[in-house]
């Protein structure tokens, strides 16, 4: 059991990096999929996608607050006050909304990876993080069921299966970046804050995906080391989204929300 006061400066910094990367993943995918509000394939799915996106923003909020408590910063300032290059989400979240198959492919990869990561974080020695991860898992379970339903449906039709396959192949290298080892990861693993190295979690995730993809005649996920700039590379698509989600906060910088 470790409280924030007992952490060495190096461990504290690594924990901050871990919290920021998970929070930014949730935050940015939440905003990307909220771009489907009003234009999803049918009314019911529109409501469901928007609701899931809201859940992700809610998870990001809780993680930013945990980070703020650790560093003494303000959670809103972390969420909305950074330049695009200061975000630490995985490159998977650099892409625009594109078409429905692309969004389903991305979210399926994200939800399954996130489930593996949260299962590990729920065992964290950093109690506030373990508790939050356990809480998040209860909602993410439903997200995964929902995306699983969509993946199977799109794979069952030749036209949509082809779109799904193209999207999965395009997204795969950037999805691996979810498990890019963090700076100071050795400290985190040694202290039990991160119960297992990212590379172990990545291998577990790939092993879980393989039979699913094979069963649906979708491209086989090939395990390889994530690109080293997987959490720092930014794109024009993301810079556009950043302009959208910071618009209100920028409109009145001294306002309290």
């Amino acid at each position: 059991m470790t409280g924030p006061d007992q952490l060495s400066p190096a461990t504290r910094e690594a924990l901050a990096e871990l919290l920021l990367s998970v929070a930014d993943d949730e935050f940015v995918i939440g905003f990307w999929d909220s771009e489907w509000t009003g234009i999803a394939p049918m009314l019911e799915e529109d409501v469901a996608t928007s609701s899931i996106s809201q859940d992700e923003i809610g998870h990001a909020k809780a993680l930013y607050e945990l980070l703020a408590a650790l560093t003494g910063a303000d959670a809103d300032a972390i969420a909305f006050g950074r330049a695009p290059d200061e975000y630490r989400h995985a490159a998977l979240m650099n892409h625009g909304r594109t078409d429905w198959a692309f969004s389903v492919a991305r979210r399926y990869l994200y939800e399954t990876a996130d489930a593996v990561r949260l299962e590990a974080l729920a065992r964290s020695s950093h109690v506030p993080l373990a508790q939050l991860a356990a809480k998040m898992r209860r909602e993410e379970r439903y997200h995964q069921m929902h995306l699983d339903a969509w993946l199977r449906r799109l794979a069952a039709n030749e036209g949509s299966r082809q779109r799904l396959a193209t999207a999965l192949e395009r997204l795969w290298p950037d999805a691996l970046a979810i498990f890019l080892p963090l700076d100071g990861e050795e400290e985190l693993v040694a202290s039990g804050i991160l119960p297992e190295p990212m590379a172990t979690l990545r291998a577990r995730w790939v092993a879980q995906l393989r039979p699913v993809m094979a069963g649906l005649h979708l491209p086989e996920p090939v395990d390889s080391a994530p690109p080293t700039d997987g959490r720092t590379r930014r794109t024009d698509d993301f810079r556009w989204l950043h302009g959208e989600f910071t618009m209100v906060a920028r409109s009145e910088e001294v306002a309290t929300w």
């Binding site: 009003g38 234009i39 394939p41 049918m42 009314l43 019911e44 409501v47 469901a48 339903a149």
Partner: protein, 107 residues
């Protein structure tokens, strides 16, 4: 949103229960191609704000409907079939008064 008129779409009626033991009350309906997505959408429409303890999701075509006016709205006076057809208020008051009295008066 794009209107979906796919022939596979079905309408599912959703009933919700607020707490264990409460009656299942009709909440509304969702459109979905199958039971799995219908369940997901029912959850989003009628359960995402923690307002439901339990949902029933029923395909509309599984419901037997009865709306024949000859059966439900027969033409003759049926007021005597309503509980209000019997005025027992005064009888009840008299019975209560008898029960409250100590007994027959001593002569």
């Amino acid at each position: 949103m794009v209107a979906s008129d796919a022939p596979t779409d079905r309408v599912w009626e959703v009933f919700r229960q607020e707490a264990e033991g409460d009656p299942m009350i009709h909440a509304g309906n969702v459109r979905a191609p199958d039971e799995e997505l219908a369940t997901h959408y029912a959850r989003e429409f009628y359960g995402r704000r923690q307002e439901s303890h339990r949902l029933w999701v029923v395909p509309r075509d599984a419901i037997t409907e009865l709306d024949d006016p000859d059966l439900l709205q027969p033409p003759f006076d049926r007021s005597f079939k309503r509980p209000s057809g019997y005025l027992i208020k005064h009888k009840l008051e008299a019975a209560k008064a008898r029960a409250a009295s100590p007994g027959p008066p001593n002569e």
